[in-house]
C-alpha cells in the first residue's frame, strides 16, 4: 500500500506528463496542417510528371537505346532500399510500420538470394534497421537539421542515389515511405524508383496514337536524360512530404491517446488517494475513541 505522499507525488508526475503530451498534440496538429497542405500541393506536379513520362515511354518502348533509368540494367541482383522515416520518436507506430515493410521486403529479397543495400533517410528507421541488417547499411541521411522540406533536400538524396546507380552499385531502387491518408490512416508504401515505374501501355492507351507524333526540342534522348533523374527527385520529394504529413498525423493520434490515458490514470490515482486518506482519518478516529473509552 503506497503512502499518501507517494500517491501525491505520482499524481503530480502524471499531471506533468499530461501537460507535455497535450502540448505535443497541439504542436503536431498545427504542424500537420502545414505538412498536409505541402503534401497536397506537391501532388499535381508528381502526377503530371508521371503522365508526361508515360506518354514519352509509350513512344520509347522497343527501342534499344532506351536509357537505363527507364528500363533498368537488365539484372535485378542488387536492390537498394531507400527507407524514409522520421527523425523523432513519440509518434506511435509510424516509424515501426515503415521499417516493418522494408524489413519484410529485405528478408524476401535475401531469401531469393539477392543482395540488399539500405539507405536510410531519418534517424529512427536507421536505428532499427542498423540492428537488423548491420552489413547492408550504406548510409544515413540526417534530416533533423532541416525545418521545412524543400525540393533541394529531395534533390540531394536523388543525386546520391543516382551517383550510386551510375557507379553500378545497384540494379533496382525502391523507396519506402508512408502515404498520408488521413490523421488516423497512414499507409506504409513501397515505390519503385529505378527502373522508373511507368503505367502500362493499356492505361496510357489513348495517348499512344499521338505519342509518335511528338516533336522534340532538343532531342528525345536529351529530354529523357534530364527528365528521368528529375522524376526521381520529384518522387522522393513527394515521398518526403507525404512522410512529414503522416508523421505529424501519427504523432497527433499517439499524443491524443497518451493525454487521454494520463487523464484516466489521474482519476484512478485521485480516487485511490482519497480512499486511503479517508481510511487513515477513520483509523485515527477509532484510535482516539477507543483510547478514550479505555480510560
Amino acid at each position: 500500500m503506497p503512502s499518501l505522499k507517494d500517491l501525491r507525488n505520482r499524481i503530480s508526475s502524471v499531471q506533468a506528463t499530461r501537460k507535455i503530451t497535450k502540448a505535443m498534440q497541439m504542436v503536431a496538429a498545427a504542424k500537420l496542417r502545414r505538412a498536409q497542405e505541402a503534401a497536397e500541393a506537391a501532388r499535381p506536379y508528381a502526377e503530371r510528371m508521371e503522365a508526361v513520362l508515360a506518354n514519352l515511354a509509350a513512344g520509347m518502348t522497343g527501342q534499344d537505346e532506351a536509357p537505363k533509368l527507364m528500363v533498368g540494367t537488365g539484372k535485378d541482383d542488387v536492390h537498394l532500399l531507400v527507407v524514409a522515416t522520421a527523425d523523432r520518436g513519440l509518434c506511435g507506430a509510424f516509424n515501426t510500420a515503415i521499417v516493418k515493410l522494408a524489413r519484410e521486403h529485405a528478408r524476401r529479397l535475401t531469401g531469393e538470394g539477392k543482395t540488399v543495400k539500405i539507405l536510410c533517410v531519418g534517424k529512427k528507421g536507421a536505428d532499427q534497421l542498423k540492428r537488423l541488417f548491420p552489413q547492408s547499411m550504406v548510409g544515413v541521411i540526417d534530416m533533423s537539421g532541416t525545418k521545412k522540406i524543400g525540393f533541394n533536400n529531395a534533390n540531394e538524396i536523388a543525386e546520391r542515389v543516382l551517383g550510386m546507380f551510375d557507379a553500378g552499385e545497384f540494379d533496382v531502387a525502391t523507396l519506402f515511405y508512408s502515404e498520408f491518408g488521413s490523421v488516423i490512416s497512414q499507409v506504409p508504401t513501397a515505390q519503385q524508383l529505378i527502373p522508373a515505374h511507368v503505367p502500362e501501355a493499356g492505361e496510357a492507351g489513348e495517348a499512344d496514337a499521338d505519342a509518335g507524333a511528338y516533336e522534340y526540342e532538343p532531342e528525345e534522348s536529351e529530354i529523357l536524360a534530364t527528365l528521368l533523374p528529375r522524376n526521381i527527385s520529384v518522387q522522393i520529394f513527394k515521398g518526403l512530404l507525404e512522410n512529414a504529413a503522416s508523421e505529424q498525423g501519427a504523432r497527433m493520434t499517439a499524443m491524443d491517446n497518451a493525454t487521454r490515458n494520463a487523464g484516466d490514470m489521474i482519476d484512478k490515482l485521485t480516487l485511490q488517494y482519497n480512499r486511503s486518506r479517508q481510511a487513515q482519518i477513520t483509523k485515527e478516529l477509532i484510535e482516539i475513541i477507543s483510547g478514550a473509552e479505555a480510560l
Partner: protein, 131 residues
C-alpha cells in the same frame, strides 16, 4: 478565338495556375515558341525566362527556371523547377533583395557560404533581368 487551350503550370511546391487560356509563349531551350489551341504535340525543355499567358485578353507573366513543357492533344503542361508570378513581385523589392544578397556574398566567412550567396545572387539577377 473561340477555341481555348487547357493550360497547367506546376512547380514541385505547388500548382500555380490551371485555366483555359488563349495563348501561351514558352521560353524553350531552343527558342521561344507560342502555343495556341490545337498546337502540334511538342516536348521541350525550358531555359530561364518569362512565360507569357494570355487569358481573355489579359496577360499574366511568370518567371520560370528549368523544367519541361509538354503539348499534347489535351493541352499544355509546364513542369517548372521553379516558378514565380511576376505580378506578385516588384522591381524595387527585387533590387533590395539583390543588394542584400550582394552584401551576404561580400560578408560570407566560409567558402560554402560564399558559394551559396553567389548562387542566390545569380538567380536574383536572372529574375531581375526578366522583369
Amino acid at each position: 478565338m473561340a477555341e481555348k487551350l487547357k493550360f497547367d503550370l506546376v512547380s514541385p511546391e505547388r500548382l500555380l495556375m490551371t485555366a483555359e487560356v488563349d495563348q501561351v509563349t514558352v521560353p524553350g531551350a531552343e527558342g521561344v515558341f507560342g502555343v495556341g489551341p490545337g498546337h502540334v504535340p511538342v516536348m521541350s525543355t525550358l531555359r530561364p525566362g518569362v512565360l507569357d499567358v494570355v487569358e481573355n485578353g489579359t496577360e499574366k507573366r511568370f518567371f520560370v527556371r528549368g523544367g519541361f513543357a509538354e503539348v499534347n492533344a489535351d493541352g499544355l503542361t509546364i513542369l517548372a523547377e521553379q516558378a514565380l508570378d511576376l505580378g506578385a513581385i516588384d522591381a524595387a523589392g527585387l533590387d533590395q533583395e539583390i543588394k542584400n544578397a550582394e552584401e551576404d556574398a561580400a560578408d560570407a566567412k566560409t567558402e560554402a557560404a560564399r558559394e551559396e550567396a553567389a548562387e542566390r545572387l545569380a538567380k536574383l539577377r536572372e529574375v531581375r533581368a526578366a522583369v
